[in-house]
C-alpha cells in the first residue's frame, strides 16, 4: 500500500516536471509527439489523483503526506516540497488534469508548450502544497508561466502578470504575519482553529485581509479584475487621456468611442459577433487560465485557509461584498460581449464571485457547496472555450447541452442561493433593542442589509446570465463557418462529449442527496425550485434573449438606444479600466516623472547653485567648490592619509 501511495504521489508531482523537461525538445521533436507525451502524462496524473481519492475513501488512514525534498532550510524556517494528504488537493489536481487534456487537444500552434508545462508544474505544486513555502512557489510560478502563454512572439510583457504580482505580494505579507504568530512553522497543519483562535482578533483580520487580497487578484475579482497597462497604448499615443487599458483575461479591448478602431467595428455589421481580436488571448489559453491556473488555485487557497476566514467576520463580510459586486458586474458585462471567449470569461469570473459569497457565509459546508458547483462549471467552461477554439459550429449540439445546464441555474448555485437567503433571513430575525427601555424590535443590522443586497445581486445576475449565454448562442449561430473540419476535430469532439456527459452526471449526482436505509441506498434529486426563484429568473433571461436575438432584427439597437448610457457602460465594462487608469496608473506615472524632474532640479541644479553661492561668499579660496570636486577629493585623500600616518606614528611612539 505504501509503495502504491508513494508511486501515485510521485506521479502527481513528477509527471508535470518530466513534461516540462520534455518540452525543451520543442523544435527538435515533432509537436505531435510532444503533445501526445504531454497528454499521456496528464492522463497519468489524472489516474493518480483519482486513485488517491479512492484510496482516501476506502482506507482513510492510508494516505499521509509525502515529503519529496527540502528547497530551503533555515533554523525555524523550512520549505519542503511534497504532497499532502487532502481530498481537496486531489480534486483540484483532477480538475487541472482534465482541463489540461482539453487544452492540449486544441493547443494553438503558435503558443509554446514549455510555458504550459511549467505552469502545470506550478499549479500542481500549489494544489498539493502542505506548507506555505511550496504553496507560494507554486502560486507564483503558475501565475508567471501562465501569463507568459499570452505573449505572442516577441511582444512585451502582458499586464496580466502585474496584477498577479500584486496578489503575490499580498500573499507574502499574509504568510509573513501568519508565520510569525503561528508557532513559526510553515506547515498548513499548524492552522488549526485552536491556534488561530489564540491570536488577537485584529491580527486574524489583518492576515485574512492579506490572503483575501491575494485571492481577489488571482481570481480577477473587483477591483483587481483590471490588469494594469502602461501609457504606451494606442489611446495615449493618439493624445487620448483614456489610455488603452486591456483586461486580457476577459478579452476586452476597451475601445474609446470616436476612435477609428471603434468606428470600423461599428461600420462592419459582421463584427457584431466576431472572432476574438488578433492580439487577444487564444481561447484555449483562456481555458487554462480560467479553469485551471488562476481561478481554481485561488479558490483552493480560500478553502485551505477556511479556518482563518471563519475567525475573521469582517474580512468575510468584505469577501461577500467583493463577490456580489463582481458577480453583478460580470453578469452585466457578459450580456454585451461580442464573442464567446469574452462571454465565458466574464461568466467564469462572475461565478468565482459566487464562490466568495458562499465562503463568506462562514460555514464550511455551505462554502464547499459553492466551491463544488464552481469546479463542475469550470470543466464546462473549459469545454466550451476549447470547442470554440477547435471546432466551433460543429460543437453546437454540445454547446446547447452545456448552455442549458448552466443557464438553467446549476443545482449548486440554487443550493447556495437558498443558503444565502436563509442566512440573511436569520440575521434579519435577530431582535435588537433600540434603547434600554424599549421592547426589542426586528430591524436588521448593516450586515443584514448587505446580505439582502447580495440576494438581490444573485437574482439579477441569474437573469443576466441566462440572457447573456443565450444571446451569445443565438448571435453566434449567424456566424459563417470559417474553416472546414479537421482530422483532429473528431478527437476533440469525443473528448468533449465524454467530459460534458461526465460533468452533467457527476454534478447532478453529487448535488443530490444520498440516503441509506435498510432497503439500501436511495437518491433524492437536487432541488431545481427553492426558496430563491433562480430557475424562473434564468428562464426569463432566456426568453428575453430569444425575443431579441433569435432572428436578426433592429430590436437590440432600439433597446440599446432606449437604455441610453447603460448599454455603453455595460459594453465598456462600466469604464472600470479607465477608472483604474485614472486612479492608479496615471498618478503613479505622473508622480514618478515629477520625482525625476524634482530630483534633477533640487539635487542637480540646486546643489550646484549652493556650491556657487558658498564659493562667492568665501571668495577665490573656495573656488574649487564651485568648479568641481577633484581638488576637494584630493585634499580629502591627503587628509585621510595624514591622519592615518599620524595615528601610526603615534602608535609607534
Amino acid at each position: 500500500m505504501d509503495t502504491l501511495r508513494t508511486l501515485l504521489i510521485g506521479t502527481l508531482v513528477g509527471a508535470p516536471l518530466m513534461a516540462y523537461g520534455l518540452s525543451f525538445l520543442e523544435g527538435k521533436l515533432s509537436r505531435r509527439v510532444l503533445l501526445i507525451a504531454a497528454q499521456l502524462m496528464a492522463v497519468a496524473v489524472l489516474l493518480s489523483a483519482i486513485g488517491l481519492l479512492v484510496m482516501s475513501r476506502l482506507w482513510p488512514d492510508s494516505i499521509v503526506g509525502v515529503r519529496l525534498g527540502t528547497w530551503l532550510s533555515l533554523p525555524g524556517f523550512e520549505v519542503t516540497l511534497g504532497a499532502r494528504s487532502d481530498d481537496f488537493a486531489f480534486v483540484l489536481t483532477t480538475l487541472t488534469s482534465i482541463v489540461l487534456l482539453l487544452a492540449l487537444s486544441a493547443w494553438p500552434q503558435e503558443v509554446s508548450l514549455r510555458w504550459l508545462m511549467l505552469a502545470w508544474f506550478g499549479v500542481t505544486l500549489a494544489n498539493v502544497a502542505g506548507n506555505l513555502g511550496q504553496s507560494f512557489v507554486g502560486w507564483t510560478l503558475s501565475a508567471w508561466a501562465s501569463s507568459e502563454l499570452a505573449r505572442k512572439g516577441d511582444k512585451p510583457l502582458r499586464p496580466v502578470w502585474l496584477v498577479q504580482r500584486v496578489s503575490d505580494i499580498a500573499m507574502l505579507a499574509g504568510f509573513g504575519i501568519a508565520w510569525m504568530h503561528l508557532a513559526s512553522t510553515l506547515e498548513f497543519s499548524a492552522w488549526t482553529p485552536e491556534a488561530i483562535g489564540s491570536l488577537r482578533p485584529e491580527l486574524i483580520e489583518s492576515i485574512a485581509l492579506c490572503f483575501l487580497l491575494g485571492v481577489i487578484g488571482r481570481c480577477a475579482q473587483l477591483p483587481l479584475s483590471v490588469w494594469l497597462e502602461t501609457e504606451q497604448g494606442f489611446a495615449a499615443q493618439s493624445g487620448n487621456s483614456m489610455s488603452k487599458i486591456s483586461d486580457v483575461m476577459v478579452g476586452v479591448w476597451n475601445v474609446p468611442d470616436g476612435h477609428e478602431v471603434a468606428e470600423r467595428l461599428k461600420a462592419d455589421r459582421s463584427n457584431r459577433w466576431h472572432e476574438s481580436p488578433e492580439d487577444s488571448v487564444p481561447p484555449t489559453v483562456l481555458a487554462w487560465w480560467l479553469c485551471a491556473a488562476f481561478l481554481p488555485v485561488g479558490i483552493g487557497l480560500l478553502v485551505r485557509l477556511e479556518p482563518l476566514f471563519a475567525a475573521a467576520p469582517h474580512t468575510r463580510l468584505l469577501m461577500v461584498a467583493v463577490g456580489a459586486f463582481t458577480l453583478l458586474m460580470c453578469s452585466a458585462n457578459a450580456a454585451a460581449q461580442t464573442n464567446w471567449p469574452r462571454v465565458l470569461s466574464q461568466f467564469a469570473v462572475g461565478q468565482c464571485g459566487f464562490v466568495l459569497i458562499a465562503m463568506g457565509m462562514g460555514s464550511r459546508s455551505k462554502g464547499l457547496l459553492g466551491v463544488s458547483a464552481f469546479l463542475w462549471q469550470s470543466v464546462l467552461i473549459a469545454v466550451l472555450l476549447v470547442a470554440n477554439s477547435a471546432i466551433r459550429r460543429q460543437a453546437t449540439r454540445l454547446m446547447v447541452v452545456a448552455l442549458s445546464f448552466m443557464a438553467a441555474g446549476l443545482c449548486g448555485r440554487h443550493a447556495v442561493a437558498d443558503s444565502v437567503w436563509e442566512h440573511a433571513r436569520k440575521l434579519f430575525d435577530i431582535p435588537i433593542k433600540v434603547s434600554e427601555e424599549s421592547e426589542p424590535v426586528v430591524l436588521g443590522t448593516t450586515e443584514t442589509r448587505l446580505w439582502l443586497l447580495v440576494v438581490g445581486a444573485i437574482f439579477l445576475s441569474e437573469f443576466l446570465t441566462g440572457f447573456a449565454l443565450f444571446r451569445a448562442w443565438f448571435v453566434s449561430r449567424r456566424e459563417s463557418v470559417s474553416r472546414p473540419a479537421l482530422n483532429g476535430d473528431r478527437q476533440v469532439r469525443i473528448l468533449m462529449g465524454i467530459t460534458t456527459l461526465l460533468v452533467l452526471l457527476g454534478s447532478l449526482l453529487a448535488r443530490g442527496e444520498w440516503e441509506r436505509s435498510d432497503a439500501g441506498f436511495s437518491w433524492t434529486p437536487p432541488r431545481m425550485f427553492g426558496v430563491v426563484p433562480l430557475l424562473p429568473l434564468a428562464l426569463a433571461g432566456v426568453v428575453l434573449a430569444w425575443w431579441m436575438y433569435s432572428k436578426p432584427s433592429s430590436l437590440p439597437e432600439k433597446i440599446a438606444a432606449a437604455m441610453g448610457p447603460f448599454a455603453r457602460l455595460s459594453r465598456n465594462r462600466f469604464y472600470w479600466d479607465d477608472l483604474y487608469f485614472l486612479l492608479v496608473v496615471h498618478p503613479a506615472t505622473v508622480i514618478g516623472e515629477w520625482l525625476v524632474w524634482f530630483e534633477e532640479r533640487a539635487f542637480g541644479r540646486g546643489a550646484g547653485s549652493v556650491r556657487n553661492s558658498v564659493a562667492s561668499v568665501f571668495g577665490e579660496s573656495a573656488e574649487p567648490l564651485s568648479r568641481g570636486s577633484a581638488m576637494i577629493g584630493a585634499l580629502t585623500t591627503v587628509g585621510s592619509v595624514a591622519v592615518l600616518a599620524w595615528m601610526l606614528l603615534w602608535l609607534r611612539s
Binding site: 530551503l72 508567471w144 497604448g233 494606442f234 580629502t636 591622519v643
Partner: protein, 575 residues
C-alpha cells in the same frame, strides 16, 4: 603531488586570489612589448585562473569545521569561522629585546625576550562564510567587466595603440586585487587600504573610458566614497584604540593594540560585558557606532544621496558600471555585516526601527525615481540603489531570515545586474522609441506603437534581458526569488513598516521593469560573439542555480552569520 602542488595553493587561496592579479599586472608590463595579443592572452589566463580559484575557494570552504585549538574556540567560537588564513608582519614587528633582571641571588642578568615593535598591523587575509561569497561575486564580475571593454580604435597605421590596451588591463587587475583584498582582509588597516584602492582603480578606469560627463561625475563619486572611507577609518581606528584601552595586557612587551578583525570583533564583545569596561565602552561606543554607520552607508548610493552613484554608473563604460553596481557598491553592506552588526548589536537594536524605516523609504524613493525614468542605464542604477537598500534592511533586522535574505539579494543583484549591463547596447541610443526618429525600419503600427522586425541577435538579446528582468523581479526558479521570499519573514518579525515598505518597493520595481520591457533597446548595431555565449551562459546558469538550489549558498553562509550576530531565535517573543 598533493603536498607539493595542490596543498600550497589550497591552504592559501585568498592570498593567491590577491596575488594572482598583481603578478598578472607585472606580467602585462613585460608582455606589452610583445604586442596586444600577448596582453589579451595574459588577461585571459588571469581571468580563467581567478575564476577557477574562486570556485575552488567556495567549494573548499568548510562551514562547520571545528576550531583547531582551545584558545581559538574560547575566543572565536567552537567553529573555525575564518579559514585559509595567512598573516605577515606589515607595520611593526616582533623583535628580541634585552632586559635586565635580578635573579634569586641578587645578581643582575641580561635576558633576551620577544617584544613588539610598533603597532601590530599585519597583512592578514582569510575568508568566512560571508566574505567567501563576496569574493566569488567580485571575481566573477571583474572577469565579466574586464571582458566588456569597448571596441578599440586602431592608429592611422592600422595598429592598436599599446597604451590603450595595456593601461586599462593593469587598472582592471589592480581593481581585482583591491576588491578581493577588501573582502579577504582580516586586518583593519588592510581593509581600509584595499577599499580606498578600489576607488582609485575605478577612477583610473573611468578616466580611460566612459562618456564625456565622466570628468564631472567621477570626482563626485570619489568624494562621496572617500568621505565614507575617511569616517570608517576614524571609526575603526577608534575601535582599535578603545580595545587597546580595555585590554590591559599584563605583559608590557606585548602590544595592546589589536588590528586583527576577528579578534577585535570577538574581543570587544567579551571585554565589555560588565564592570568598568562596560561603563567606558558605553561612553565611547555611540561615537564609534555613528562614525561607522555613516561611513558605511554614505557610499551605498541610497536615495536621496544616490546622484553621485547614478551619474557615475550612467557615464562609466559598461564594464566598469557592471563592477560598480554589482560589487563595489556592496562594500558598504559588507561593512555593516563585518563591523556594525557584530560590534554594536545593542545600539543597532536600539536604532534599528528608525534605520529600517528610513532605508525602506529610501528604497521606495529610488524605485519611484526608476519608475519615472526613461533611460535604461539610469533605471538600472536607481533600481540598484533600491536593491542595495533592501539588502541593508535585511541586515539591519538582525534576524536569520532577514540577514540571509539580504545576503542572497546581494548575490542575486550582482548576477542579474551583471547580465543586464552586459546586454546593454554599446552605443547609448536609448530605447527603441528614442531611436525611432532616425531609423526608417521603425514604423507606427495601427495602435500608434512601434513595430519593427527584429533580427535574430536583437531577438536573443531581448529574451535574455527579459530573463534578467524576471530574475531581478524575483520569479520562482530564478535568483531573485529566494531573497524576495525569505526577507519579508525577517522583516515582519522586526518591524511592520519596514516590511510594508519593502513589499511596496518590490511591487513598484516589478511594475517599473514591465514598463521598461515595453521600451526595448536598439541592438541593431550589435553582434553576437563567442564571448557573449560564454558570459551569458555563465550568468544565466548561476541565476538559475541560485534560484533552484539556494541551500548550497545558505549552508556556507549560515554558520558565519549565526556566530557573528546576536540572532534572536525566539523571534515570536521579540514583538
Amino acid at each position: 603531488m598533493w603536498d607539493t602542488l595542490v596543498r600550497p595553493i589550497r591552504e592559501h587561496l585568498p592570498l593567491w586570489l590577491m596575488l594572482l592579479p598583481v603578478c598578472s599586472a607585472v606580467l602585462v608590463g613585460f608582455v606589452r612589448l610583445a604586442g596586444a595579443a600577448a596582453v589579451r592572452q595574459t588577461m585571459l589566463v588571469n581571468l580563467l585562473l581567478s575564476v577557477a580559484l574562486s570556485v575552488w575557494l567556495v567549494v573548499a570552504y568548510e562551514p562547520l569545521k571545528p576550531a583547531t585549538s582551545q584558545e581559538e574556540a574560547a575566543l572565536l567560537g567552537p567553529l573555525e569561522r575564518f579559514q585559509f588564513r595567512d598573516s605577515f608582519a606589515w607595520v611593526g614587528e616582533t623583535r628580541s629585546a634585552l632586559v635586565e633582571r635580578l635573579n634569586r641571588r641578587g645578581e643582575r642578568r641580561v635576558i633576551e625576550v620577544p617584544a613588539q615593535w610598533g603597532p601590530n598591523i599585519r597583512f592578514a587575509v582569510g575568508v568566512d562564510g560571508i566574505s567567501v561569497w563576496f569574493v566569488a561575486l567580485s571575481v566573477l564580475l571583474v572577469s565579466v567587466g574586464s571582458s566588456l571593454r569597448e571596441p578599440l580604435r586602431p592608429n592611422a597605421d592600422g595598429r592598436m595603440p599599446m597604451a590603450v590596451i595595456s593601461t586599462p588591463s593593469v587598472a582592471w587587475l589592480w581593481l581585482q586585487a583591491s576588491l578581493v583584498g577588501t573582502f579577504v582582509a582580516l586586518d583593519v588597516v588592510l581593509f581600509v587600504a584595499c577599499w580606498m584602492s578600489t576607488l582609485l582603480a575605478i577612477a583610473w578606469l573611468m578616466g580611460s573610458g566612459g562618456d564625456s560627463q565622466r570628468h564631472e561625475v567621477v570626482p563626485r563619486l570619489l568624494k562621496t566614497s572617500w568621505w565614507g572611507g575617511w569616517l570608517v577609518t576614524l571609526g575603526l581606528g577608534g575601535l582599535v584604540l578603545v580595545f587597546g584601552w580595555l585590554r590591559t595586557s599584563p605583559n608590557p612587551a606585548v602590544s595592546s593594540l589589536i588590528f586583527s578583525i576577528p579578534e577585535l570583533i570577538a574581543g570587544i564583545g567579551q571585554l565589555t560585558v560588565a564592570g568598568e569596561n562596560a561603563f567606558l565602552w558605553g561612553t565611547i561606543n555611540v561615537w564609534l557606532f555613528w562614525l561607522l554607520v555613516v561611513g558605511f552607508t554614505w557610499p551605498l548610493g541610497l536615495a536621496p544621496l544616490h546622484r553621485p552613484f547614478v551619474e557615475a554608473f550612467a557615464s562609466a563604460p559598461r564594464g566598469v558600471a557592471l563592477v560598480l553596481a554589482g560589487a563595489l557598491l556592496k562594500i558598504g553592506v559588507y561593512g555593516w555585516l563585518r563591523f556594525v552588526a557584530p560590534v554594536f548589536p545593542d545600539l543597532l537594536h536600539q536604532h534599528s526601527d528608525t534605520f529600517t524605516t528610513l532605508v525602506g523609504l529610501s528604497s521606495l524613493l529610488a524605485a519611484a525615481l526608476a519608475f519615472g525614468e526613461r533611460d535604461w542605464q539610469r533605471r538600472i542604477a536607481l533600481a540598484t540603489s533600491s536593491s542595495v537598500g533592501l539588502s541593508l534592511i535585511g541586515v539591519m533586522t538582525q534576524m536569520t531570515e532577514g540577514l540571509t535574505g539580504g545576503l542572497l539579494r546581494v548575490l542575486s543583484h550582482g548576477l542579474t545586474a551583471g547580465l543586464l549591463v552586459w546586454l546593454l547596447p554599446r552605443e547609448r541610443v536609448g530605447s527603441l522609441f528614442q531611436a525611432a526618429a532616425n531609423d526608417d525600419r521603425c514604423f507606427a503600427d495601427e495602435f500608434g506603437g512601434l513595430k519593427k522586425t527584429p533580427d535574430p541577435v536583437t531577438l536573443r538579446r531581448r529574451r535574455l534581458v527579459r530573463f534578467a528582468l524576471f530574475a531581478w523581479i524575483g520569479l520562482p526558479g530564478l535568483s531573485g526569488f529566494v531573497a524576495e521570499f525569505v526577507t519579508p519573514f525577517g522583516l515582519f518579525q522586526h518591524e511592520f513598516n519596514a516590511a510594508a515598505l519593502s513589499l511596496m518597493t518590490s511591487g513598484l520595481i516589478a511594475w517599473m521593469w514591465v514598463r521598461a520591457d515595453r521600451e526595448p533597446l536598439d541592438w541593431s548595431r550589435e553582434l553576437w560573439t563567442r564571448r557573449d555565449n560564454f558570459v551569458v551562459a555563465a550568468l544565466v546558469t548561476l541565476n538559475v542555480a541560485l534560484g533552484v538550489a539556494p541551500q548550497f549558498v545558505v549552508n556556507r553562509l549560515l554558520p558565519s552569520l549565526m556566530s557573528a550576530l546576536p540572532v534572536q531565535s525566539e523571534h515570536s517573543e521579540v514583538r
